[in-house]
Amino acid sequence: MSSPAERLADGFRRLRRAGGGQLGRWFVIALPYLWLTIFFLVPFLIVLKIAFANIQLAMPPVEPVMIWTADKVLQLRLHFSNFAFVFGDELYIAAFLNSLKVAGISTLLALLLGYPMAYGIARAPGAWRNILFLLVVLPFFTSFLLRVYAWLGLLGRNGPINDLLLALGLRHEPLQMLQTDYAVYLGMVYSYLPFMVLPLYSAIEKLDLTLLEAAADLGCRPTKAFFTITLPLTQEGIFAGCLLVFIPAVGEYVIPALLGGPDTLMIGRVVWDEFFGNRDWPVASALAIVLLAILSGFVLLLQRVQAREREA
């Protein structure tokens, strides 16, 4: 069909293309791993190192963990005292428990509010769906900090909500809304609701509607069909949404700091105080590591449950 020279050239071309594909594949895989290594694994190892270090009055305010001594010995000194301190102090345990409680309640509230929202969007007619979807994502166009600050104004003693309550005569004096746990829940649910709605939406939208017709055909009323068909089949969306809300909520710092009262004890705030207030980097790091361990435990547990469900 062609001359040997042409065939040879064609072979080279094909070889180069194959080689290029191989390289491209490596590149595509390596890039995210490189990213995660530099920006996640390395910082994590640094935090882990600090958690095992001893405090000192210097800059940085921690002693090195590894020391190259004069007699050419590599010394590795791990101080477990930081962890002992964290687990020994009731304040930290209370902060952990309170964080889990606040995050748990916020997640539940976000689910109760987010499910009907996601359901409404998924079942809305085509043109409406895009608009509603945009409205859910719209808050992300503004800075998170700014949005939480806005609540300060809204909930304040002289804010519009109190103005309205007074004008309507429902209250005779301004309602104390800021610096309460309620304000923290409000802020949490408000801020993390989109993370709940998006995975729920995709799960509900995927649901085959003929299944609901089949249920109705077999004598199942719509409310019951929701609990026996829709809810179990959108379980993955529920799990994903809850994780996406719960995890950042546990370590949340800004919302309790701005909207919560002095007695709203949350772990994110404790870490901040240890780090910047007490300049106790090792204890702050130890707290961060424990928090990470707890959250990883939750994720693993959930994955185990889901895997078992899928097998059954």
Partner: protein, 376 residues
């Protein structure tokens, strides 16, 4: 409608009194009319097939029977009760979905039990009826499987069991065999009919597959653009189609247009330019004298010979241009001197015979009763 088919249709309908009565049913989606003024009576224990191409309104009609769509106009009576406004979960009707719509998170047994649980049936009875049903569809031992662990044929049978377990008086089946391969289809067709006879359930089947309709149905309703064109037994529909569309839709047919040249009560003669002559038909036609008629002749009703037949009602000659040997029969394409292509099917009765060859000149003839004259 043809007089013979009208009589037959009437006799089947009155047998047990209409069980399902559909009265001038219309369904509009915006400007689109999916079902237009359909009236239909289906008797108890019948297998009624709604047959038509996609978009003919057959599925919409079925969904109105199930209660998933509310009719724009008209009414549906089941066993004398007006169910037009009754929601699906309160109708004495069950449906087998085209996609089967099995609940993926439930086992086979849970799927089948679902309908009974909704009625608050006692647990022991649910268990025995589920077992009985799974036995009936030959799925014993599969009760703990999930739908995704089953083959297509098994899923179809679970769907059937689920739809039958509540002992509905009327079962709606949407393309029941559509998702099965050919071998399994033929097998399942007969199983379905057996099951229907055993349980005495009235079946309404929607299908686009005419072969499926012919083998399953006691009566067929042929639909086009939201209207029912003809209702009758498979034989009626095949042998006495009432329109060009029905003749062409069911099976294979040679259709040509013509005008009446001889109009007697017991026979007619029609001039068909495409045949290059007249066609003699042994039945009368009720139509205005100048109307354009269509003559429909099934390929298997035309005989092919090498010699000119001595005596025949209709004789033509042509050249063989296409041969398709199918084993049991051979299909020929014969070109007439006018250029019209005639389809002829001949059974292969002898193992050894001198078969017709390409470009051979042949004689075609058919009996006066073979052709059907349709006026629309």
């Amino acid at each position: 409608m043809n007089t013979v088919s009208a009589q037959r249709a009437a006799s089947t309908t009155t047998a047990g009194g209409p069980y399902v009565r559909i009265d001038r049913l219309t369904k509009r989606f915006g400007d689109f009319v999916a079902v237009r003024q359909v009236s239909l009576e289906i008797s108890r224990g019948e297998i009624f097939c709604l047959l038509g191409g996609s978009g003919c309104g057959k599925t919409t009609l079925l969904r109105m029977l199930a209660g998933f769509e509310t009719p724009t106009e008209g009414a549906i009576f089941i066993d004398g009760v007006d169910v037009t406004q009754v929601p699906p979960y309160e109708r004495p009707v069950n449906m087998m979905f085209q996609s089967y719509a099995l609940f993926p998170h439930m086992t086979v047994a849970q799927n089948v039990a679902f309908g009974l649980q909704q009625d608050g049936t006692a647990r022991a009875e649910i268990e025995s009826r589920v077992r009985e049903m799974l036995m009936l569809v030959k799925l014993e031992g599969y009760d703990k499987r999930k739908p995704h662990q089953l083959s297509g044929g098994q899923r179809q049978r679970v769907a059937l069991a689920r739809a039958l377990v509540k002992r509905p008086k009327l079962l709606l089946l949407d393309e029941p065999l559509g998702a099965l391969d050919k071998k399994l289809r033929e097998h399942t067709q007969f199983e379905l009919v057996n099951l229907q006879e055993k349980l005495g359930v009235t079946f309404v089947i929607v299908t686009h597959d005419q072969e499926e309709a012919m083998t399953l149905a006691s009566r067929i309703g042929v639909m086009r653009s939201g209207e029912i064109l003809q209702v009758g037994s498979p034989t009626d529909i095949y042998e006495y189609p009432n329109s060009r569309f029905v003749a062409d839709f069911i099976g294979s047919v040679n259709l040509t247009e013509g005008t009446l040249v001889e109009d007697e009560p017991d026979h007619v003669r029609i001039d068909c330019p495409q045949f290059g002559g007249t066609v003699y038909v042994d039945h009368g036609v009720s139509s205005p004298p100048d109307a354009t008629l269509s003559v429909a002749i099934r390929p298997e009703k035309i005989q092919l010979t090498r010699e000119r037949p001595e005596q025949a009602d209709n004789v033509l000659s042509g050249v063989v241009t296409g041969i398709a040997y199918l084993g049991d029969a051979t299909r020929y394409l014969v070109r007439l001197p006018t250029g019209f292509m005639l389809r002829v099917t001949a059974p292969n009765m002898f193992r050894r015979e001198e078969r017709l060859a390409h470009d051979e000149t042949v004689w075609l003839h058919w009996h006066a009763s073979a052709a059907v004259v349709v006026t629309r």
